[in-house]
Subunit: 144 residues, 2 copies
DNA sequence: TAAATTTGCTTGCATAATGCAAGTGCAAAG
DNA sequence: CTTTGCACTTGCATTATGCAAGCAAATTTA
């Protein structure tokens, strides 16, 4: 379904092969900033991802170890998607995109507040958020 | 040809609407790190972009003021594509992608060296590169 | 100065990705 | 034991991408 072929050895190119599409980073954003973790959660996002695209992106991100599938504590019918350490480490990229967008695009006020806070001390913000997100890691990956 | 419709007000979503595809950031990378500036230059890159896709991406990036078309000093047959300030300011994003790739993917040695240097003092590296890139800005945009 | 080449595209067409609506199978709730 | 919710899958129309060829204007070559 998804291609795995690397176009070149360039780190930007390889990275884009993993998350360089219009949807992957939005799923990651939802997991980072909105505590979303189920298929249904992602479907509810404002951008309106199609069900099949969501399924294929979740699969791709899982294959690339950016996210992992865990069993949901509430029900076997649900699936918990969580960021791995590799996924959590995309936070600096997501933040820099926010900073750029803040400078050149029109941003909702509530998000502007978050951006302002993050800008004040980026390293501290990243550490704090990373710590929060790590709490939710699956057991297999807790040793990182 | 290209869609301009915003999927949501989210800064990540809006940013991806501008450069969230498999090619745009590679063109920007070439302009930042390889001094490429003509249509022919971009075609030569390792990933092998198709001519029509290159044309449509250049057009899209220009419409979004990320790059600008200038006349080539050597010949009227050539076109000079240059990053605007808005484009130059994508550098921190590109750098963070490098850092992430450096941690999780296999990277060519020469690029690893650049990444190492950039990591040592990121702010200084960004300032230095920004200064270099600004030298090449077109007159209309020099006032930023 | 005429012919060949370079440059920056455009066009046509095959293939692949995306979007949309409907359907399926399993788990849990009523 | 039927209905609902959840996580997908499937089929099909639309759009984007990839590839090869073509093309006009500018430049070089003969």
């Amino acid at each position: 379904m998804e291609k795995l072929k690397k176009r070149s050895g360039c780190p930007i190119s390889c990275s884009l092969d993993i998350f360089g599409d219009k949807w992957s980073l939005l799923i990651i954003r939802d997991m980072m900033f909105s505590q979303k973790s189920t298929y249904g959660d992602f479907l509810k996002s404002a951008e309106g991802i199609a069900t099949n695209i969501l399924a294929s992106r979740l699969q791709g991100l899982e294959e690339n170890k950016v996210i992992e599938k865990l069993e949901h504590p509430d029900s076997k019918a649900k699936v918990l998607y969580k960021l791995t350490q590799k996924g959590i480490d995309l936070l600096p990229i997501i933040l820099e995109i926010h900073f750029w967008a803040d400078k050149y695009l029109t941003i909702p006020a509530d998000i502007k507040a978050m951006i302002k806070a993050a800008k004040k001390d980026k390293d501290a913000f990243v550490k704090m958020m990373t710590k929060e997100l790590k709490k939710q890691l699956g057991k297999e990956n807790s040793n990182s």
